[in-house]
Symmetry: D2
């Protein structure tokens, strides 16, 4: 149950079977710094490159293929007073012909006021002169090394996690990933100070951060997709295109979860899910979209 | 401001330019009965047929093509103590190969306890022996006659509304439809006693109901898709397949709304939407899926 | 076996249960004029409106719901020397961000040289100065009244046919439609002088035409989607979005066909289809896309 | 212009930045053996594992990031007399509820008669007793190392090529890949003795093979997706889900090609493509689907 502090000296633009930056034990806690999606750190330096440079990987002793790595997000703290977004809706979230009405996206500066708990545009348009956005920090991209020795760009996502850009990945959440590599090889980065559903401008408020997390290994447990748990609910993530398929994966994962761990068969799980399921559209911007299928614990 | 009561003698399985069953005025309120999705009424008789037999149409005097019909849902009351669902997840909401693991859907009976405010399975599987579902009645299918003199099956949906199966269409909501036919020709039916996101078993708890609604005509207002308003938020609906396109329609409609009525341009609207938008997956079962793009009024 | 000639006095913008313009018998042949997609006829007058004004419906005596109407396309002749297309790729057939690089579509004039068997742009850009396109006339939109008394815009398509915009619907092809209304109620129009796969500029070369067709009724035969037959192959059409689903419908229809009429079971049909199937992307422009699943008769 | 012969001693299940098995020069020809999709070689041994074990990578001297690697497929020869397929249509190519009517897929043996130029089922169902399939060998999976140091499973595909399962990748075709790694790092494998459109049973006739290919480096040429050329036509490939997006990528790539190399602007290219384009559905089975956008050279 050691507490580690980690400041990256290099970053990865893929999630893969890379050399660990630290070896940790089941139950350990790490406080790690992350750079923003374009590689800028707390000092405004740019030690990382695009896309979404990752801190890590952390080798978790005792985590083997066929296990689950559980990562509790204890805290996400902003480490600088600036962030950025893109200025227009992404081309793929509006009707195709409407793209002609949207200016090309530009990078826009935000002021992050951690004490005040809000962010604001550095140069807001008049209509948004006094507009502030409550900080609600989340991890945009994290996960474990994928199967087969693969290395996937941090622009996208898969069963191993990755760039899911889900605002539900905030402090207080436990996330489970299917382990495919010895030591799991956990990466994280791309923190957003806030973001709406879908990441529909192609960004949250992108910034550097300090993330404290605690790892746990669940031996010999088979899951197909990332799963999460909050004090109030459980959720399963699906990553794919189109959105329909991301939803199919998330729904199937929840079905399997209810059957394997909650005493249901296909029919009783269907009854429950038909009444209880809530979906979140995590992102509709990345190469793979992400959907969360949630059920309040009160239903379980 | 007349109050009308309406009990159907016949039903329609399409939303189209049909003979009005009643002529009403801007501001009038109607209390109308609806049959369930298979046409069974409060008495358990089956005066209607599949799919989703509609009560109506109501001709709203003063509503012309190019106007908007606003329908306030005042009340949705259950009119019988039984409902039904399908017994398994729909084939299209799980991974394709998983369909083999799901039994074929069967029609399952529910007991609706209006006094207790809950529904329960008539013959629950052991795992759900004491399970109750809070009643949260919603209108599954409603809308106005579509453009061009079209008549669309009540299985599906479009810019005119239709079978959107959104649990957000509950009492307390005002819904706006684009008028295409003289008198708007408003239809409603297919009430669900409760339903989760996505209508993923292919049904809510299907039952007969009594719906009280009040109509208002907004002259010369152009909207592309159904819009809604609750005390706390506004939302726009998109109906299409795949889910991505339903989301594109809903997002585009919200963009247009913010620009036309809320003083935004494309960039300020994008900033707002990027932080504020919430999506609901209304249904992923019908021929056209439905997505709601919501923004809390606090953001406006 | 009567030969009829028909010149429309009015047109329909929906395919639905409309008043027949002519009653014909099983085996009859009709030579009918059609207007172009914007309603212009052989004289350059505009008696029809958008979208895709239909000639018909023709009531085929003896055709009842549950039957199949077979329409042999005997001849498609151009009736004027002009046509038109849109000038740029449709917004939905390129990567979304690329839409900004495409000028907004404009209507462009073509010269149709029926004697020479080619069409050419009236004012070609220099790069296409001497460019000619071989005439290969096809019916863009045709079909029978859909089930349930529905009336669908001629912009789209469904199990009943409609705006499928498939270059395979040329002279020499027999097309089968599932009959849903008494008399089948056959409509046709929207002839293209030529078109590539996908109708990716949103049009073929749109023009008026004279179409000669012969009808036959096949009693009590259940088909789910339009089917076609040429001297060399059979094909099944699926209409839906996304393209994946159109392909699923077409593939399922071919599977059912092989099982019902060609002595296959699911496994032998799968073996055959896995080796023999060819797909055509008929259109990727209309509200519903269209895919043809073809098998050469040599394989049957 | 050296001629190399290569028999693999190990295989890769990812296409990535792996250690080269051979260094070759621009203009060299290689005759390489490949194992089948499950790793069985010409002798029926299984030196490779799933999925689609790759022969290579071949390091092409002089090929740098930003270049194009052109691979001419000179010859594909069968190296054993057996192959295999799956026995039923894949679950994702039929309507979802139809999956229940399809038996679970089993691996089925084929006899490959190279002298006779045909393949036949080893134990055909009665309906296909005398059925033979003409051999038309193709490469299922090939390509170059992807950007960013990524390594992708050979089950899927991307801009770098990969598991495209396109029957158009036969002898006589030249294929161009965008180079991302020094030396390009070319992999190949997963040969099919024959396959229909779409790989709709999830396989072609999977077998081992000997492939002779010749490489050429085109310096400083930017392409986004694999391109191909036959004596009669050019084609561009898009890999993605849904099929719509694969088609968007292929169409965009063809547009860019016509503009960059064939003297077109967006409008003249649109005119040409609207009339000339043919699409092939290469595969609708893999995680990313593949579409080819083709134009006959006669049109250029």
């Amino acid at each position: 149950m050691t507490y580690h502090t980690f400041i990256p000296e290099h970053y990865h633009n893929t999630i893969g079977w890379h050399e660990p930056v630290m070896f940790i034990d089941d139950g350990d806690t790490v406080c790690a710094e992350t750079a923003d999606a374009h590689g800028f750190d707390r000092h405004g330096n740019q030690p990382g490159g695009r896309p979404n440079p990752m801190t890590g990987p952390f080798y978790v002793r005792g985590a083997d293929p066929g296990d689950v790595l559980k990562v509790a997000i204890n805290r996400i703290s902003m480490t600088r007073s600036s962030g950025w977004t893109f200025s227009t809706l992404a081309a793929n979230v509006v009707d195709p012909a409407v793209v002609r009405r949207l200016p090309a996206p530009e990078k826009v500066l935000w002021i992050i006021d951690s004490d005040g708990g809000v962010a604001r545009l550095a140069e807001p348009p008049p209509r948004l002169a006094d507009w502030t956005v409550p900080l609600d920090p989340m991890i945009g991209c994290f996960g474990v090394a994928p199967a087969l020795g693969q290395a996937w760009s941090t622009a996208t996502s898969g069963p191993y996690g990755g760039n899911m850009d889900y605002r539900g990945f905030r402090a207080g959440v436990e996330v489970m990933f299917p382990v495919a590599a010895p030591g799991a090889l956990f990466f994280l980065g791309d923190v957003h100070a806030a973001q709406g559903d879908g990441e529909i401008v192609g960004t949250g408020i992108e910034t550097s951060a300090e993330v404290e997390f605690t790892v746990a290994v669940i031996k010999r447990k088979q899951i197909g997709w990332p799963r999460g748990e909050t004090p109030d609910e459980i959720f399963a993530i699906g990553n794919a295109r189109p959105l329909d398929q991301a939803l199919q994966h998330a729904t199937t994962e929840m079905l399997d979860w209810l059957i394997a761990d909650h005493g249901h068969d296909a029919v009783s799980a269907s009854h429950l899910m038909g009444m209880a399921v809530r979906y979140d559209v995590a992102n509709v911007f990345n190469p793979n979209y992400s959907v969360a299928c949630r059920i309040a614990k009160a239903w379980l």
